[in-house]
């Protein structure tokens, strides 16, 4: 069916073969579209990072442009813990958004008392259905996701992208 659609069904011929950014499932990570792009650069280096306020010391997640606690602009990048524990989890077989292959496993994660990031909803990859249990330890893992084009004057620049998830500690 997918092949048939591409070949013969042309609802809006002008859009055929074009990349439609407003339908993109991943963030626009590049400097041209995001002031927190160092987060993604850090992901490429295998680091899980966020911003910390130099004025009040507050660590926020996701990273920001101003501190949400005191609105200061002076922020610095700090690393977050890469290991977490599964509090509870859910496995989706049917109805996952297109682009997320079933079983889509998501878990409510805690990072421990000392972590500035307390909890997070995390996707669990490299894991079979029924394998993950409450209380299991998982670790941060990065992977590349599809690139997208942006116009730079008359040229097209290709923006490579990366994202993160968690995987069971074995």
């Amino acid at each position: 069916m997918a092949e048939l659609q591409k070949a013969e069904i042309t609802g809006t011929p002008a859009l055929n073969g074009t990349y439609i950014s407003e339908m993109d499932m991943w963030p626009f990570e590049t400097q041209e579209f995001n002031r927190i792009y160092p987060f993604y650069d850090n992901l490429r280096a295998g680091k899980f990072t966020t911003t910390k306020c130099k004025k009040c010391g507050h660590v926020t997640y996701p990273p920001q442009v101003i501190c949400p606690k005191c609105w200061a602009e002076e922020l610095e990048w700090v690393e977050l813990p890469q290991r977490a524990k599964v509090v509870t989890l859910t496995e989706t077989q049917a109805g996952a958004p297109i682009g997320f292959e079933p079983p889509l496993i998501m878990a409510w994660l805690t990072f421990g008392e000392k972590s500035p990031l307390k909890h997070l909803l995390g996707r669990i990859i490299h894991c079979k259905e029924g394998e993950l249990k409450e209380g299991d330890e998982v670790k941060f893992v990065t992977f590349s996701v599809p690139a997208h084009p942006i116009e730079v004057k008359k040229d097209t620049k290709i923006c490579d992208r990366v994202f993160y998830a968690f995987e069971p500690v074995k």
Binding site: M23, M25, W26, P27, Y61, P62, V87, T88, L89, T90, E91, T92, G95, A96, P97, I98, G99, F100, L104, M106, W108, L117, K118, H119, L120, L121, G122, R123, F163, A165
Partner: protein, 397 residues
């Protein structure tokens, strides 16, 4: 300064909710017609303000600035207010908050609130895909958080673990709401019934949820009239239903900012409820009938707790005791709620308001005897925000 006016809800109506063969503007016209049927004295020319609550109109109907489209289709000529408002599933309930302020201040006299969604697209995958954009997209959605059942399933698991809530208790919620849905011909699941056995044996959607623990996504529209007391008296001879108090509270957009100790605690709802009750000069004990956001059975259970109708952790047993039934302590979702009437996001708050209006006017299909005070509640997003409105047959003095 002139004395503050009182704002009242005069009446309202909905289109048929469900998988509709209709454009969003078609359904808004149907809802407006149903609203006019409910208020025979209403003339379109009386309406000076319009609030259109919708989330998906921009993406699914290519209608980003929706309010002027509604003006044109309904033949309105608003002079005080003409806006689109979006707080997802709380859209038209948020519109009630705005309308209350506009009318009490004297800026507007008669406001039409319409909420509407066209959810279903020519290809079904688009609906679930669009839901990636209703969460904190670059963070939670990129983890796969799109459709709500997996998230609320984790909430249910946590509530079961911490408080001993059972699947049977959750089934009591859906069975009760199906009984209430009877007679509401515009509901998504109009005409269907549900037994405990059917509820418990239904196919699994997301553990622990079976099919009947989850509300449907619906196409549909609703419309209500909020007006000053004086204008309401001129267009309707039904008892006046006053907008007494409102509260709206948000604490975060992304999972990392979740405000509770665990997913089973919703302190942001507790706060929204406290603010609304304080403004209304009432308490949960004063309520005779309520409409809460039963997007899932567990949601209604937690809402009964956080809004103060039972102790924290006892919502499951409270619901199963018959407390939410028509002769119970607090009849809840008396028109079937989201579970049975359906859930076109922006339309749900106004649908709830219609039911509370009819209950307090003594003309509901499943009438609570002598109902004098009521409440509507919506959560929106993946439980990121809570909106509460308290109604009464008397204004706040």
């Amino acid at each position: 300064m002139a004395q503050k006016k009182n704002a009242v809800i005069v009446g309202g109506g909905t289109s048929k909710f469900g998988v509709r063969q209709a454009h969003i503007l078609d359904m808004i016209q149907e809802a407006a017609r149903a609203c006019a049927n409910d208020i025979p004295g209403l003339k379109p020319a009386d309406i000076d303000g319009l609030i259109v609550a919708t989330t998906m109109a921009g993406r699914h109907s290519s209608a980003l600035n929706t309010a002027p489209l509604v003006v044109h289709r309904l033949g309105l000529k608003p002079t005080s207010l003409c806006i689109r408002l979006d707080t997802l599933c709380a859209g038209s309930n948020s519109a009630v908050i705005v309308a209350k302020g506009m009318i009490e201040s004297g800026i507007a006299e008669v406001i039409l609130i319409t909420g509407a969604e066209k959810v279903y697209m020519p290809q079904r995958w688009e609906t679930n895909y669009t839901q990636l954009a209703v969460n904190d997209h670059d963070w939670d959605s990129a983890m796969g958080l799109g459709v709500p059942p997996p998230f609320f399933a984790m909430i249910a698991k946590m509530h079961m673990k911490r408080y001993g809530t059972t699947k049977e208790q959750m089934a009591h919620v859906s069975v009760t709401n199906y009984a209430y849905g009877d007679g509401h011909v515009n509901g998504h699941f109009a005409g269907r019934t549900l037994t405990m056995e059917q509820a418990l044996e239904a196919r699994l959607i997301a553990d622990p949820f079976g099919l009947y623990d989850c509300c449907p996504l619906s196409d549909g529209a609703s419309a209500i009239i909020v007006a000053s007391e004086e204008r309401a008296k001129a267009m309707s001879d039904k008892p006046l239903v006053y907008l007494r108090g409102t509260g709206q509270h948000a604490t975060h957009s992304m999972s990392a900012g979740w405000p509770g100790d665990t997913l089973a605690e919703w302190p942001h709802l507790k706060k929204a409820g406290e603010v609304a009750f304080k403004n209304a000069k009432l308490t949960p004990k004063d309520m005779d009938v309520i409409q809460t956001h039963d997007c899932f059975t567990i949601s209604e259970i937690i809402e009964l707790e956080e809004l103060g109708f039972c102790n924290k952790g006892e919502g499951g047993a409270f619901a199963a005791s018959g407390a939410i039934g028509i002769n119970g302590v607090i009849p809840t979702n008396t028109d079937g709620g989201l579970l049975v009437y359906g859930h076109p996001f922006g339309a749900s708050g106004a649908r709830q308001a219609i039911e509370i209006c009819k209950q307090l006017q003594g003309r509901a299909i499943h009438q609570v005897k002598n109902a004098a005070f009521g409440l509507t509640h919506n959560l929106s997003g993946t439980c990121a925000q809570h909106t509460v409105v308290v109604y009464g047959k008397e204004p706040v003095k």
